[in-house]
């Protein structure tokens, strides 16, 4: 049977980590046994209120899944989005590493799981249906951004 790693480092147990990832739309359809490897490889990070989680222009290759708290996605002073548990930020970087297009700041004490590109690539090979989730996520993000642009003065 497919071995499942035990207790990763951090405050969350493996089951809680998988449950947190299952709340993320793009991972929702992936079986727990597959997601357990991602959860185990993911890194827990905590950000205090006002702390910068991601900086515009930085070249990184990981995404964050928000477990607790809320974050603001912004470009300079302009807020693009506010996100909470079950959302992801920085997913473009794991698909095509490039300078970050926006910054992300914690609005309150926030707990995230960081998923690196290599882990994400493994997951795509293991569960190709993930691509549907990624596309849905990107489309909804683009729509939300377009609506925001239309509302902007």
């Amino acid at each position: 049977m497919t071995d499942v790693p035990s207790s990763p480092a951090g405050s969350l147990g493996l089951v809680e980590r998988v449950a947190a990832l299952h709340r993320v739309q793009m991972f929702a359809g992936i079986p727990g046994r597959v997601l357990a490897a991602v959860a185990e490889a993911a890194v827990e990070e905590r950000a205090a209120q006002g702390e910068l989680l991601m900086e515009e222009g930085a070249v990184e290759a990981h995404l964050y899944a928000i477990v607790e708290g809320r974050v603001r996605v912004h470009r300079g002073g302009r807020t693009l989005d506010e996100l909470g548990p079950g959302a992801t930020v920085g997913e473009l970087a794991v698909l095509a590493p490039a300078p970050r297009s926006a910054s992300v700041t914690a609005l309150e004490p926030t707990l995230v799981l960081r998923v690196d590109q290599l882990v994400f690539d493994e997951l795509l090979v293991e569960w190709p249906e993930l691509a549907h989730g990624v596309i849905e996520d990107l489309v909804s993000r683009i729509r939300a951004r377009a609506e925001l642009d239309e509302q902007a003065p």
Partner: protein, 802 residues
């Protein structure tokens, strides 16, 4: 087990059928009594021919109207017209025109067919195919009860009204009740008003050629014609024998009693037998049972004629039994099966086809039977000849039923098949200008696309010129690929230049240039090149270079063990899995021993990926897959099955049986455990859902290997579609699979069922009920190794620890 139809649909349709039955009983009793009293039974075949003429004309009018009007409009107009005809007939009879009884006899089967077209048409719009199979017999029961009530009402009504012809007033009243119920159905369920499509004239107005281009429509028509001929023949045989044995009031009393018995048998069969029979055996039996039973009874009657003779009571009793059997099976299995078969015909064409098949085919069949019987009368052939003709007819009818079932399954499979996205091949001649524009572009991406599209046409003079132009392109990949293409045409100068450039690029510090070198190695001009360059690129630190080098691996590299080893190792790397799998396929048999070793040795997380890759390379080699198919990890088994299925590999039947049994038991166990869990067990519930899904995938994979890709098509439709289409998907699975397979697969595939309903459907093969704590303890420890899921164990231990 299917989702219930909207509340009120079945009662309203049943009430319509009941009123319809009362109407027809109150039509046929006075029509027969008046006609037989006036003209006797010898002219009955002549009325059959009249039915053919007027029936065809009536159905042509209905079909014409159906293409232009809504179902309810056609039905309303027809039912009003019939009510007017009944009332007018009463006036004519009161005025002494007994000839109108012949007209009423002719009108009876036409009204019968029309009524069922309208009720069936409404049912087809309000029920899906599964609901039709299960509920339509109950609707038809309403007709039988109505017919029985109408027959029984005839006696007191006759006493009340004083004369037979006055019964037609009651006929008219019952007809108006039927009409009222139809309009009430329309008001409550506006979807019955589905109009013919205006956007597709071919669909809205199907020509006869279009309709009969379908083998299913042809067979449906033939089947209905043969069914009507068989029923008419049995009807005639019975009346003929009854007239020999009874006369005058005795005949009337006997016919009344027999009609009551006939309808009682019909009601009991429909209420108690037809539904379970159709649920259990489906159309496979529904289409052949009626003709087979009729053929068998007629064969026995033929033996009786050859022995004791047609005048015996035994022959008469057999004629009665055959008449009863035919009626109950026509109502209980044949009509339901035919209505279900219509569901695979697009909705826009369905009513028109139904009107043609049932409205024209049936009257013509009755007329043809009349003509045959008249000819037999003219040449003085007795009942024996009628029986022999009936045997031949019912044998052909049985085979037609079997052929229709096959056609139905094919039509269902075609309906399930997804559309193909395969593009037509590029015609160089027609695309020449566009191709040269691509090859001459400054944009390297355009030139690469041009080189890809060039395929095997590089030897043409114009292509050669375009390639020479591309070989001077600033982009190194374009340059080396263009040179390689030229080299492949026999240009030795280009070959030397390509080799030199590739070597230079392979040593570059820029991964883009190394990738260009790797891409060039795939060209035929590099077949004899030094394999050290390829091996070096296969070991490159950049995964995109390694993937390009893997793409360049060809069958000729199978002689290099170092290349084979690197390709097998690359399967385990996510960034190169796809390219390595394709390379393995090109290397072929030589990679098999190494693959078998790696599949057996590698750690569990990588095994499914390796198995999938191995199937593409070595689907004919059981040495690689036998261990994977018997792996304790069901994920590995699924990977092996899916990959072998995709590669058309062979799986021993006993192994398939074992996987199917294990997956079915696993699903039943997981569902039983799931239904016992209460409270906050989210992660464990989710893990169990994953196990149920894994079992479901295994079941579908096994069935796909056994029965072909159509199982996956049907499962996909049953899983993802809604309403009528989902019901068609489930129906397709029902007809493709054996009963034992369907009992397991269908509840698992149907996502419209709740886990409790799925668990109930699989309870037969599931474990006995247990308390939540017992289930959690078993999943956590798995003492009998039945769960074999580490993740489920983790979730169970987590649930137990809270």
């Amino acid at each position: 087990m299917s989702a219930s139809p909207a509340r009120g649909v079945i009662p309203l349709l049943t009430a319509q059928a009941l009123a319809f039955g009362v109407t027809l009983a109150l039509l046929v009793v006075p029509a027969n009594a008046l006609f037989l009293n006036a003209y006797g039974s010898k002219w009955l075949p002549a009325t059959y021919i009249a039915i053919a003429v007027f029936g065809s004309a009536a159905s042509a009018v209905i079909a014409w109207a159906a293409r232009r009007m809504r179902l309810v409009q056609v039905a309303t107009a027809s039912l009003v017209a019939l009510a007017v005809l009944y009332a007018a007939s009463w006036l004519i009879l009161v005025a002494g025109g007994v000839w109108v009884s012949a007209f009423l006899l002719v009108l009876f089967p036409i009204a019968l067919q029309m009524g069922f077209v309208f009720i069936g048409g409404q049912a087809g719009r309000l029920l899906d195919v599964r609901q039709l199979k299960e509920r339509f017999p109950r609707i038809v029961t309403g007709f039988s009860v109505g017919f029985l009530l109408g027959g029984l009402l005839g006696i007191p009504l006759l006493a009340l009204l004083g004369s037979t012809e006055h019964l037609l007033l009651a006929t008219t009243a019952a007809q108006l009740v039927f009409l009222g119920l139809l309009l009430a159905t329309e008001r409550r369920f506006p979807e019955v008003q589905a109009a013919p499509s205006k956007s597709s004239p071919e669909v809205a107005r199907p020509s006869a050629r279009l309709l009969f281009a379908s083998s299913l429509v042809l067979l449906l028509c033939a089947y209905q014609v043969l069914s009507a001929m068989g029923s008419q023949l049995l009807d005639f045989l019975f009346f003929n024998r009854a007239q020999v044995r009874y006369s005058g009031n005795d005949l009337t009393r006997f016919l009344s009693g027999f009609t009551a018995l006939l309808n009682l048998a019909d009601i009991l069969f429909l209420a108690l037998v037809a539904g379970p029979l159709m649920r259990r055996f489906g159309l496979r039996l529904g289409l052949v049972l009626n003709p087979f039973v009729v053929a068998a009874l007629l064969a026995i009657m033929a033996l009786v004629v050859a022995g004791p003779g047609a005048a015996t009571f035994g022959f008469f009793a057999l004629a009665g039994v055959a008449r009863v059997s035919d009626l109950v099976l026509t109502d209980g299995t044949t009509r339901t099966s035919v209505n279900a078969s219509f569901q695979v015909i697009p909705v826009g064409e369905r009513l028109a086809v139904q009107a043609v098949v049932e409205g024209i085919g049936v009257p013509v069949a009755i007329g043809a039977t009349g003509a045959v019987l008249l000819v037999m009368n003219v040449v003085h052939l007795g009942p024996g000849a009628v029986v022999v003709f009936g045997v031949l007819l019912s044998v052909i009818w049985t085979f037609t039923g079997a052929a229709m079932y096959r056609s139905y399954t094919r039509a269902l499979a075609a309906e399930m098949r997804p559309g193909s996205l395969t593009a037509q091949g590029v015609e160089l001649g027609e695309s020449d200008a566009a191709l040269h524009a691509l090859l001459g572009s400054d944009d390297a991406r355009d030139v690469r696309l041009g080189l890809d599209l060039l395929g095997g046409f590089a030897s043409t003079p114009s292509a050669g010129a375009a390639l020479r132009q591309a070989s001077d392109h600033p982009d190194p990949e374009v340059r080396v690929r263009a040179l390689a293409r030229l080299a492949a045409t026999g240009d030795s100068e280009a070959a030397a230049a390509a080799a030199a450039l590739a070597g230079e690029l392979a040593r570059s510090a820029d991964p883009v240039e190394r990738r260009a070198a790797a891409s060039a190695l795939g060209s035929p001009s590099f077949i004899d090149a030094d394999s050290r360059m390829l091996i070096g690129l296969l070991d490159d630190r950049d995964p995109t270079v390694r993937a390009a080098a893997l793409d360049a691996v060809g069958p000729e590299d199978a002689v290099e063990p170092e290349v084979v080893r690197r390709v097998v190792a690359a399967v385990g790397e996510p960034s190169t899995t796809g390219s390595a799998t394709a390379a393995l396929r090109r290397l072929g048999d030589v990679a098999v021993p190494l693959l078998a070793e790696v599949v057996a040795r590698d750690p569990p997380p990588k095994r499914p990926r390796l198995v999938r890759a191995a199937a593409h390379a070595a689907s004919e080699h059981p040495v690689v897959f036998a261990p994977a198919l018997e792996d304790p990890d069901r994920v590995v088994v699924l990977a092996a099955l899916d990959a072998l299925d995709a590669a058309n590999g062979v799986v021993p039947p006993e192994i398939l049986d074992g996987i199917f049994r294990d997956a079915a038991a696993h699903a039943a166990r997981a569902l039983a455990a799931r239904t016992s869990l209460e409270g906050d067990n989210g992660s464990l519930l989710r893990a169990l859902d994953d196990e149920i899904d894994l079992a479901r995938r295994l079941v579908i994979a096994v069935l796909s290997v056994r029965h072909g890709e159509r199982v996956r098509d049907a499962a996909r439709v049953a899983d993802r579609a809604d309403g009528q289409r989902r019901a068609l998907g489930v129906e397709a699975l029902d007809v493709i699979l054996s009963r034992e397979e369907a009992e397991i697969a269908v509840p698992l595939v149907r996502r419209d069922l709740t886990p409790d309903e799925q668990a109930a459907a699989l309870a037969r093969i599931g474990p006995p009920a247990r308390a939540q704590e017992e289930w959690i303890a078993e999943m956590a420890e798995d003492p009998d190794k039945v769960w074999r899921s580490s993740w489920l164990g983790v979730c169970a231990r987590h649930a137990a620890g809270r």
